[in-house]
């Protein structure tokens, strides 16, 4: 299971592509013609297919088994979505084509927008953000634009300790000062601490709901009211929307902005790290400030694109463009396909089954694994455990790596930070009871081994393409690109 690098097997004289001969023409490149060797190896088509096919087999994937990564929502990716996204009418159109030639594409954006607004009970939606973190950025930019529009240059964003790292990073990225909000012992935002901190310098509160402990923020509406009363806005991290879609509308809870990870709730594939897509639904107060381009359906049924040239009449308060084009169109087609497949009734069932599966895992394992908030009631779509009770020297990492040998991807580990040695398990609604039972059995056995101090566990995984990798070495002496071995040796 070792596959050489393309630089070790290919050559710059080999190609897997044929071209027609170029017609004769006088070059317009002037003195800029590239004459150096670039160092890009080629392979024939067969060698290419083999290289990537073999490499792919070193990956774990949802197509191979349960992927219980908390907060990441690794659910089944339907193949119809892939087929639809590849229709030439979607895959082969240019973002700057005249509007008359892309009414279907604008229609997809608009139809998806209507679904997102309706499912969340919000007023508007910004479709362009390219991932969840980009959506957070969009939401905060709207908030900042709204505050500036009223001449109110607030500088602080409050973020709970349990937040995703993107939340504080995003706030900082657009110039805010970030302050933590503590958690209560039952794993939720400390309402009193929050209220105490609210004041005229606070621009927004960023809350994840359901939160990263897998719990619903019971006080969400109260929080929203308090935030609004203090003149600030509520940003909701929608990474966990999968737990409530079709059953709860964030708009009913006073949220001003929330991004939706289409690759989580709406099943677009994660692709080994993207592309994602993060549309942001907006309250009436924030909608006027959303980004360009924007789409709107006209009275005559045509879909109308709002860009720089008509933004003045149509959306004068827009904060501007946040990426070159319309956003992740390829993900919109997939997400809309998924949404239409489920419909309103199916999406409600999604939330129910996601929550049911997580509670089933929680209750099936709380006798062998510490469930810090298990006593406070049901969880939502993910079950949180801690490393409490493991034998001396045994860690969450050992259990995670042990899962690999059992044929599963590890759960999310050491997150959220509010729980020691956190193990966050999100089975999602697309897992069958049989798959859950197998997973529970495996995790139970690992928990027992870690409590009993089975030393073998510390060496796991044994049955993966690689044993544990030396991450310290990688960071201490970074090798980030390939170079000829002799050159590399000489450099040492």
């Amino acid at each position: 299971l070792e596959e050489k690098l393309i630089f070790e097997i290919g050559s710059t004289d080999t190609t897997g592509v044929d071209f027609a001969d170029a017609p004769q023409a006088a070059s317009r490149l002037g003195s800029l013609a590239r004459t150096d060797g670039i160092g890009l190896p080629g392979l024939s088509e067969q060698e290419t297919v083999r290289h990537y096919t073999r490499l792919s087999r070193q990956n774990y994937a949802i197509d191979l088994g349960l992927f219980p990564l908390g907060s990441c929502t690794m659910k089944h990716n339907p193949r119809l979505n892939e087929k639809v996204a590849r229709m030439p009418g979607f895959a082969d159109i240019h973002p700057l084509q005249p509007q008359s030639t892309v009414q279907g594409a604008l229609g997809v954006i608009n139809e998806l927008a209507v679904w997102l607004i309706t499912l969340t009970g919000m007023h508007g939606v910004a479709m362009t953000p390219k991932a969840g973190a980009h959506g957070e950025l969009c939401g905060l930019l709207c908030i900042r634009a709204a505050l500036e529009a009223r001449g109110d240059a607030r500088q602080v964003v409050l973020v709970p300790e349990s937040a995703h790292g993107t939340n504080p990073a995003t706030a900082a990225f657009c110039g805010y000062k970030v302050e933590d909000i503590p958690a209560t012992p039952d794993g939720r935002v400390d309402l009193e601490a929050l209220k105490a901190r609210l004041g005229p310098d606070v621009a927004a509160v960023m809350i994840t709901n359901p939160n990263t402990c897998g719990l619903f923020e019971r006080d969400m509406k109260v929080i929203s009211d308090a935030v609004h009363a203090a003149g600030a806005f509520v940003y909701c991290d929608g990474a966990n929307f999968n737990a409530i879609v079709g059953r709860v509308r964030p708009g009913d809870l006073g949220v001003d902005a929330m991004h939706i990870n289409l690759h989580k709730t709406f099943s677009t594939p994660h692709g080994g790290g993207g592309p994602g897509s993060g549309p942001v639904v907006l309250s009436e107060a924030l909608s006027p400030f959303g980004p360009l381009p924007y789409t709107a359906r006209m009275a005559d049924g045509t879909i109308h694109l709002i860009e720089e040239d008509n933004v003045g009449e149509e959306m004068p308060q827009s904060f501007g463009r946040m990426s070159a084009f319309h956003g992740q169109m390829g993900m919109f087609t997939r997400a809309l396909t998924y949404i239409l497949s489920h419909g309103a009734d199916g999406l409600r069932q999604v939330a129910e089954d996601a929550v049911l599966n997580a509670n089933y895992v929680l209750r099936s394992l709380e006798d062998v694994l510490d469930a810090p908030f298990g006593a406070s009631g049901p969880c939502m779509h993910e079950a949180l455990f801690s490393d409490k009770g493991l034998a001396e020297g045994f860690t969450t990492l050992d259990i995670a790596k042990g899962l690999i040998d059992e044929g599963f991807h590890p759960m999310t580990m050491y997150f959220p930070l509010v729980v020691h040695g956190a193990m966050l398990v999100e089975p999602t609604e697309t897992e069958s009871k049989a798959a859950l039972d197998q997973f529970i059995l495996a995790l139970r056995s690992l928990a027992e081994r870690a409590k009993a101090g089975d030393e073998a566990l510390k060496g796991a995984p044994y049955h993966a393409p690689r044993r544990r990798l030396d991450e310290t070495l990688a960071a201490r002496k970074p090798v980030l690109s390939w170079s000829e071995p002799d050159l590399a040796d000489a450099a040492e």
Binding site: F19, H326, S364, A474
Partner: protein, 452 residues
């Protein structure tokens, strides 16, 4: 529901294990007034695969796809032929449905691809190191400006008038909030780039000069003098490449002194897709690597001594560093990076050079033919596969009229620069290996009729 495996029997059994009477009991933490009793009104219920496919196909048919018409649009997104094997390979479930490779023992496939991708990108752009991808060229461009600020501790960036106006717009959006100062003016319809003006504008507050190559009007100019001037002033040169195929034919920005080179990788492997998902390329000199945004994949060894790859230097990233991260980026364009890397592997240096040569030769043919259309002037002396025509009339109107005749004629400068009336007659025309002699003739003829 075809994607939901639980049967009603399963649900009952599981509720019994949990000790709950009903599903509703699991939603007790939701305030009663926010708990919806039934499905959300105004939305249809589930539909069969066939019904959904038909609905989506009907929408797709309302678009005029690039393959159906003579097609000349570029300006940051290019139609290239992607070999069938690329799409086959990226659809392997093990790539398509994998997560970010945080568990390297079972993600070596993705990780090795990223390592190879980083190397390919660095070599193509002429830099030492590249990251594992960004969202797209425009956001990568802004990340480069921010990185230059962190490195130089200066807040003023000078943007070339040749930079894609949407990239400028993204930077302007962000700068409003971060306080960066951006110097920028719309371009002039001139055969020369504004490099000399940029050099003149550099001062001790300049964090970086940002220049596109080839630029938005298709022009290509040597960046060496610009790089020297920036470096002399303690500033960085950021080069932006929106058409990476060009670098099979023209010198790499890194080789001319650029400190950071960013780009849009869509041309290779990814396809047009109405603007997204695309692929941000990001490369720089080795010495700046710890200021880089985005994921990086590095080589290491496993416990048995075998070579392996891991995500590394993650102390720059948001999930470790939180508000002190170099960027808030998390999910990037992994699958697009895979497609790019496969396409590049199929091409190899030999194929890339052939591809670039074919693009350039066809573009030269097209430029010569279109310049013969009465009233039309070719603005460019230099170009790769894209050039600007000056029409005797508003180009935006002409593009719309030609679209009604089934010809996608290019990108009008009126669409790109709606507030610059001086540019209204400009038309940016892109030509690639997918352009046929018949396409060129069809455009020329239609333009002749349109302008007659």
């Amino acid at each position: 529901m075809r994607y939901l495996p639980l049967t009603d029997g399963d649900r009952q059994a599981m509720l019994a294990t949990i000790g709950a009477a009903s599903i509703d009991d699991l939603f007790v933490d939701v305030p009663a007034e926010a708990r919806l009793a039934g499905t959300i009104p105004g939305l249809p219920d589930h539909a069969s695969e066939m019904a959904v496919e038909r609905h989506m196909a009907a929408l797709a048919r309302k678009n005029l796809s690039a393959g159906e018409a003579p097609f000349f649009l570029g300006a940051g997104a290019y139609k290239h032929h992607v070999p069938a094997s690329v799409d086959h390979l990226i659809q392997r479930g093990e790539f398509l449905t994998a997560y970010t490779p945080y568990q390297p023992e079972i993600a070596q496939g993705t990780l090795q691809v990223l390592f190879e991708f980083q190397t390919q990108v660095a070599r193509l752009l002429g830099c030492d190191v590249a990251n594992a991808s960004m969202y797209d060229g425009s956001t990568a461009c802004w990340e480069a400006i921010g990185m230059a600020r962190r490195i130089t501790k200066r807040g003023k960036a000078i943007l070339s008038s040749g930079l894609h106006p949407h990239y400028v717009s993204v930077a302007q959006t962000m700068a409003k909030f971060t306080g960066d100062e951006l110097a920028y003016a719309t371009p002039e319809l001139d055969s020369e780039c504004d490099n000399s003006k940029l050099i003149a504008a550099i001062d001790k507050d300049t964090s970086c000069v940002v220049v596109q190559y080839p630029d938005i009007l298709g022009r290509i100019e040597d960046l060496t003098a610009l790089a020297d001037a920036a470096h002399t002033a303690g500033a960085l040169l950021v080069a932006v490449v929106t058409e990476p195929v060009a670098l099979g034919a023209i010198k790499a920005p890194g080789a001319m002194g650029a400190d950071i080179v960013v780009g849009e990788g869509q041309s290779l492997g990814v396809g047009l897709q109405f603007g997204g998902p695309y692929l941000g390329l990001f490369a720089c000199k080795q010495k700046y690597v710890r200021q880089m945004p985005g994921r990086l994949c590095g080589e290491t060894v496993d416990a048995a001594g075998k070579r392996g790859f891991v995500l590394t230097l993650s102390t720059r990233e948001q999930h470790i560093r939180r508000e002190k991260a170099t960027s808030n980026i998390c999910t990037n364009s992994g699958l697009c990076a895979l497609a790019f890397s496969i396409h590049m592997t199929l091409l190899g240096e030999k194929g890339l050079r052939q591809l670039a040569g074919l693009n350039h030769a066809l573009a030269c043919q097209a430029a010569d033919r279109l310049a013969k259309v009465p009233g039309v002037t070719l603005m460019n002396d230099s170009f790769f596969n894209e050039f600007t025509l000056i029409l005797p009339t508003d180009a935006r109107e002409a593009v719309r009229n030609l679209a009604d005749r089934g010809i996608l004629a290019g990108v009008s400068l009126g669409r790109l620069f709606p507030t610059a009336p001086d540019l209204a007659n400009g038309l940016v025309v892109a030509v690639t290996e997918t352009t046929t002699a018949e396409d060129i003739e069809a455009l020329a003829k239609a333009l002749e009729e349109e302008l007659a």
